[in-house]
């Protein structure tokens, strides 16, 4: 009665209906698998408490001219420097042709707020934190591998390939910036 167990016994059944059922079941299973897989992967993404700190506000009013502070943004150190007029002039005087990673001082600051320099404080070489007000160009010097940055945080000498990175930020008022 049931000597043959292979699917071939069902061959006399309408093939299209059978195929449709199998394909539909398989498709629904695939959709279900994908729907389960996504949350299992997505849980690796930054969680809500991390994302809540992705954008921070920082009040500049406590920083005197010639001072800089290091704050934390997205787990990274960020330099905020209130530059002196001499530093600004020095940065503006450098011709682009002398730069390894050509960028004007204006491109690295916000119009009307040229004294403020906001940069991620990791050397673009291998990530050390450079030392401020030092180096051959009066800016920053990275002691790890000897990269020199100028007063606009641009790379001038040493192994680092790029200028110190300016994070996305904007002025909410004259003394309040929002980073991120």
């Amino acid at each position: 009665m049931d000597g043959d167990h292979t699917l071939a016994t069902h061959a006399e059944k309408p093939a299209t209906r059978r195929d449709f059922l199998y394909v539909a079941t398989g498709a629904v299973a695939a959709v279900g698998g994908a729907a389960v897989a996504w949350p299992l992967i997505n849980q690796l993404n930054p969680d809500a408490s991390t994302l809540a700190l992705a954008t921070i506000e920082f009040n500049l009013s406590g920083i005197e001219e010639g001072q800089s502070v290091t704050i934390t943004w997205r787990g990274l150190p960020v330099f905020v420097r209130n530059r002196t007029q001499a530093e600004i002039d020095e940065a503006k005087a450098v011709p682009l042709s002398e730069l390894k990673d050509p960028e004007t001082d204006e491109e690295r600051t916000k119009p009307g707020h040229e004294q403020w320099l906001v940069m991620i404080a990791n050397c673009t070489h291998l990530g050390c934190v450079p030392v401020g007000e030092s180096g051959d160009f009066d800016g920053w010097f990275c002691p790890c591998h000897g990269s020199h940055y100028d007063t606009a945080g641009r790379i001038r000498r040493g192994p680092a390939p790029l200028n110190l990175v300016v994070p996305p930020y904007e002025f909410l008022s004259d003394t309040l910036i929002q980073i991120g």
């Binding site: 167990h5 949350p39 969680d47 809500a48 991390t50």
Partner: protein, 416 residues
């Protein structure tokens, strides 16, 4: 087993692989062509359901471990962090917590199916024994997992259960300190429980491989308990049982999802939402429901037996209740496997099931008054079933006539 093999390497590459690591051949023999009795009922789908449960627990557990902090100061808050902040964390955590209950629900069904259909009898003793070890490891894993959220029930459950070891004469206290890594349950305990809770599921997975290996030597038992006689009695595992098992898994996921999404905390205890506090004990310490029958057995021994005091007696009884399963194949000597053909056995079996449910109920009740007395009767029946009833039934019971084969049985059913 190789006699079932119909595998012919389809091309040169497969042949090259087959000569070196015959993994395709192995998969085909064991996952696809494996001859399986064609009369298995839905109780037999719980093996596959359990494999799925283990997979779910391991996957969700690895994820939770990515966000959890095994430190007494932070454990409680880190579990809440998972629920509140991690993407999809509320559901992933609930799947793991509800999953433990569903896992045990399935394993109890699986065990009671084996008890009814005599699946522990020759030649499947080793298969059964491996299963008992898996069950014991599951309980240990679940217990340590319940400690990790570091709520009040976590802490006091850990305190009470580790204290079991202090009942051992002479070496009890040193063992207790060794287990806890201190004089009381504290940060070292939490840390090592986390480590072991992560490790043991992989040990379980290894035992599951052995369990399936031991299954594939004699092949499946079946509802009539008559061994496979010819290929007419079997169907290949795939697609017949892959699809039947898959259907059962999906159905099993429906109540699972109900709890996860609509009542994720109903299987837990509200006290575990209170952070652990070594100064205050909850009014009633209640283990998770799946440990209750054994908890009742532990508590039921409140009297000394000869030189064994009640505390040690309780521990021996609880351990014995599990270990006696290991020798079950030699206690039940009836040549008939399936309870369907054992008229007397059936009564005692269902009484045993009822008794087990009552043991579960009693575990959640305070140890006072009538509950203590009933617990003693239930514990007595639990042991009598194995030590006296099954051996005696083997001798006196007259089984019903068995069908000659599975084919005859299913044909008879079809014509009835």
């Amino acid at each position: 087993m190789s006699e079932h093999s119909t595998y012919k390497p389809a091309n040169g590459v497969e042949k090259w692989i087959d000569d070196r690591l015959p993994i395709i051949r192995f998969s085909k023999e064991h996952l696809m062509d494996f001859p399986t009795p064609k009369n298995l009922n839905y109780w037999w789908t719980f093996g596959a359901i359990l494999a799925m449960c283990l997979g779910i627990q391991i996957v969700t557990g690895i994820i939770l471990a990515m966000h959890y902090t095994p430190n007494v100061a932070m454990a409680f808050d880190s579990v809440e962090h998972i629920r509140r902040n991690v993407n999809g964390g509320r559901v992933i955590q609930a799947v793991h917590a509800v999953g433990a209950s569903m896992f045990f629900a399935a394993v109890y069904i699986h065990i009671f199916r084996g008890l009814y259909f005599g699946s522990y009898k020759a030649p499947r003793e080793i298969l059964w024994i491996i299963g008992v070890f898996i069950f014991i490891l599951m309980m240990a894993t679940a217990f340590m997992g319940y400690v990790l959220p570091w709520g009040q029930m976590s802490f006091w459950g850990a305190t009470v259960i580790t204290n079991i070891f202090s009942a051992i004469p002479i070496v009890g206290d040193p063992i207790l300190q060794l287990l806890r890594g201190g004089f009381a349950v504290d940060n070292p305990t939490l840390n090592r429980f986390f480590s072991l809770h992560y490790l043991l599921p992989f040990v379980i997975a290894a035992l599951v491989v052995l369990h399936i290996w031991a299954l594939h030597v004699p092949g499946n038992n079946n509802p009539i308990g008559v061994e496979v006689k010819s290929s007419r009695d079997t169907v290949p595992f795939h697609p017949y049982y892959t699809m039947k098992d898959a259907f059962a898994m999906v159905v099993f996921l429906i109540p699972f999802a109900w709890f996860v999404f609509f009542a994720p905390d109903i299987l837990g205890h509200p006290d575990n939402y209170i952070q652990a506090n070594s100064q205050v004990t909850p009014t009633h310490i209640v283990p998770e429901w799946y440990l209750l029958p054994f908890y009742t057995i532990l508590r039921a021994i409140d009297f000394n037996v000869l030189f064994i005091d009640s505390k040690l007696g309780g521990v021996i009884a609880m351990g014995g209740a599990l270990l006696i399963l290991l020798v079950l194949p030699w206690l039940d000597r009836s040549p008939v496997r399936s309870g369907n053909f054992r008229p007397m056995f059936r009564w005692f079996y269902w009484l045993f099931v009822l008794n087990f449910i009552v043991l579960t109920y009693l575990g959640a009740q305070p140890a006072e008054g009538i509950y203590v007395l009933v617990a003693k009767f239930c514990v007595a029946y639990y042991f009598l079933y194995f030590i006296v009833i099954l051996p005696v039934l083997s001798r006196i019971e007259v089984p019903k006539p068995l069908p000659a084969s599975i084919s005859e049985s299913v044909l008879g059913k079809a014509h009835a």
